[in-house]
């Protein structure tokens, strides 16, 4: 058989059309580099890397820092032994960990390094003639012979037609002295070129997936913000509670839209075995795509994000913001307004802090829990019986001292917890408990008379 050249060019699935691998004992640096390149660009490596990249998916079953840092914080509390190890593996931010980036880049290089030569080989194969007719046809896996009436040329023309009808690519070797009585000739035919084309399309598409995801995460950004009913949000960095941007994203030029949140509805099942399970989350309000433009209504539900100017706004959670007014000893208001308390469990027991920096002589901090449907458990501790605000109550400790706000830090309810008073070494914080229910203002001695 002498058709080795055409056999390798025509759609062979072998990824490595080059020569033999070098002998193991004497590898020069150049050979080593060639060998490494060939290994990297082989189909096997690409598959292995793809498997590794997919293997990172279970890793993201652990809450991710960039997605929900609150969940990460909760996870750390729930698994104090596991968390340090996961930290070492970068499991809380899988997709920005160095090992994931390494796999990603290697996979991209491997795919491109494999695709370019294969495409060239395929293009050559498309232009080449179908493989030469073997001398001993009877050694082929399927073989038949018969006698025909016509001459050689007639038979070959007919066969070429039939094979073309069967979607073969056909080429005829004219016999020496074709059409005469003596002589011979052959038709060579091949089909199924689309197999390799499909293969190449598949791998090009994988490169497309990789590039698309990489562009999205390098130039994209993601942030979380808490917006209380009746207030608004404008898309600037200072309005975010958390903000992570891709390495190449420009955080200073966000699309200038703004939202006004009118209602936030969270409905929960009131009966049945699933009582207390969330039924509906819906946020409605108006969105202004850019300053000066007409506001439009929006309606965001879970999995129905709002899309403005290439940016998506998802509803990822809800909670309660008790409206608390603090007055000083003279009855003057020193603090007023809704303060978001972050839910810590499924019944929306929420934790939060009310800061009163204007209180005199010392600043005040109210720290504690919000209970949407207040009750007491068997030990007499305050619990919430249902996630909806049926009978809301606040259970607070009052601290006095230095809130530590002078360092120009933004007040973030997530990061604030228990810094403030207690950590200040210069003042001894004192605390006293108090419990307030809505509509029934009860005396909180430390709040009004320090």
């Amino acid at each position: 058989m002498t058709d080795t050249a055409t056999t390798t060019t025509a759609g062979s699935p072998a990824p490595d059309p080059e020569g033999p691998t070098p002998r193991a004992p004497a590898l020069t640096r150049r050979e080593l580099a060639r060998w490494a390149w060939r290994q990297l660009t082989s189909m096997r490596t690409a598959l292995l890397l793809l498997a590794l990249a997919l293997g990172a998916l279970p890793g993201s079953l652990v809450p991710q820092e960039g997605v929900d840092s609150l969940a990460v914080a909760r996870f750390r509390v729930a698994h104090p032994d596991l968390a340090p190890w996961l930290d070492r593996l970068g499991a809380f931010s899988v997709y920005s960990s160095p090992w994931f980036a390494a796999i990603y880049l290697l996979l991209l290089v491997s795919l491109v390094g494999c695709l370019v030569p294969r495409t060239a080989v395929y293009a050559r194969g498309l232009r080449a003639r179908p493989p030469r007719t073997p001398v001993r046809l009877d050694r082929m896996p399927a073989y038949a012979t018969y006698d025909a009436d016509g001459g050689v040329a007639e038979v070959l023309d007919h066969a070429a037609g039939v094979l073309r009808g069967r979607r073969y690519r056909v080429d005829t070797d004219r016999a020496t002295g074709a059409g005469t009585d003596e002589g011979s000739g052959a038709v060579r035919a091949e089909k199924g070129y689309l197999r390799e084309a499909g293969n190449l399309v598949f791998h090009v598409s994988l490169v497309g997936v990789l590039v698309g995801v990489a562009v999205g995460s390098l130039w994209g950004y993601r942030g979380n913000a808490i917006v209380v009913e009746g207030s608004g949000f404008s898309n600037t960095l200072t309005q975010y509670d958390e903000f992570t941007a891709g390495a190449l994203a420009d955080g200073s030029s966000l699309p200038p839209f703004s939202l006004a949140l009118e209602t936030m509805t969270a409905d929960f099942q009131t009966g049945g075995p699933q009582v207390g399970q969330p039924e509906l989350f819906e946020a409605t309000g108006t969105v202004t795509p850019a300053p000066g433009e007409e506001p439009a209504d929006f309606d965001i539900r879970v999995n129905h994000p709002l899309s403005v100017d290439g940016t998506s706004v998802f509803l990822v959670g809800s909670g309660y913001a008790p409206v608390v007014t603090v007055r000083d000893g003279d009855g003057a208001v020193v603090s007023s307004g809704p303060v978001p308390f972050l839910p810590v469990d499924a019944s929306y027991v929420s934790e939060g802090v009310v800061k009163v920096p204007d209180a005199r002589p010392q600043q005040l901090g109210l720290e504690g829990f919000f209970l949407p449907t207040a009750g007491r458990d068997a030990d007499g501790l305050p619990v919430s019986a249902f996630p909806e605000a049926v009978d809301p109550a606040l259970s607070l400790f009052v601290w006095q001292g230095d809130l530590g706000l002078d360092g120009a830090r933004r007040s973030r309810s997530t990061a604030w917890t228990r810094t403030g008073c207690r950590s200040s070494p210069t003042t001894t914080a004192s605390r006293r408990g108090c419990c307030c229910s809505r509509g029934r203002p009860r005396g909180c001695p430390t709040a009004s008379a320090p």
């Binding site: 046809l137 399927a142 038949a144 012979t145 091949e190 499909g198 497309g208 007014t325 919000f370």
Partner: protein, 99 residues
């Protein structure tokens, strides 16, 4: 201190990812490419004719690049078509034609 009421808040996630459509469509194309490469089965075939004495002996052979159930039956069909619609009609069934 008074507890005047409760308002709900929404936790919003604002995200922007350029080219977000690309991975999705690339996946769709990738799957169709994969199907193509799985269902298309490359095959080579040869037909050789030569004169021996007063007869034209035709040899037909095929080679599958990917294993199939029964390559011989496919070849037999091809031979039937070649003979059945040949330039001079069916060949006399005197000899050969082993499929």
């Amino acid at each position: 201190m008074t507890f005047d009421g409760v308002r709900e808040f929404a936790r919003l996630q604002i995200s922007s990812a350029p080219l977000a459509w690309l991975p999705l469509w690339a996946l769709v194309v990738a799957v169709s490419g994969l199907l193509l490469s799985l269902y298309v089965r490359p095959r080579r075939a040869w037909v050789r004719a030569h004169r021996v004495g007063g007869r034209t002996v035709v040899e037909v052979a095929s080679l599958d690049r990917v294993a199939r159930a029964d390559p011989r039956r496919d070849l037999a069909e091809l031979v039937t078509e070649l003979r059945g619609t040949g330039p001079r009609g069916p060949a006399p069934r005197d000899k050969g034609g082993s499929a």
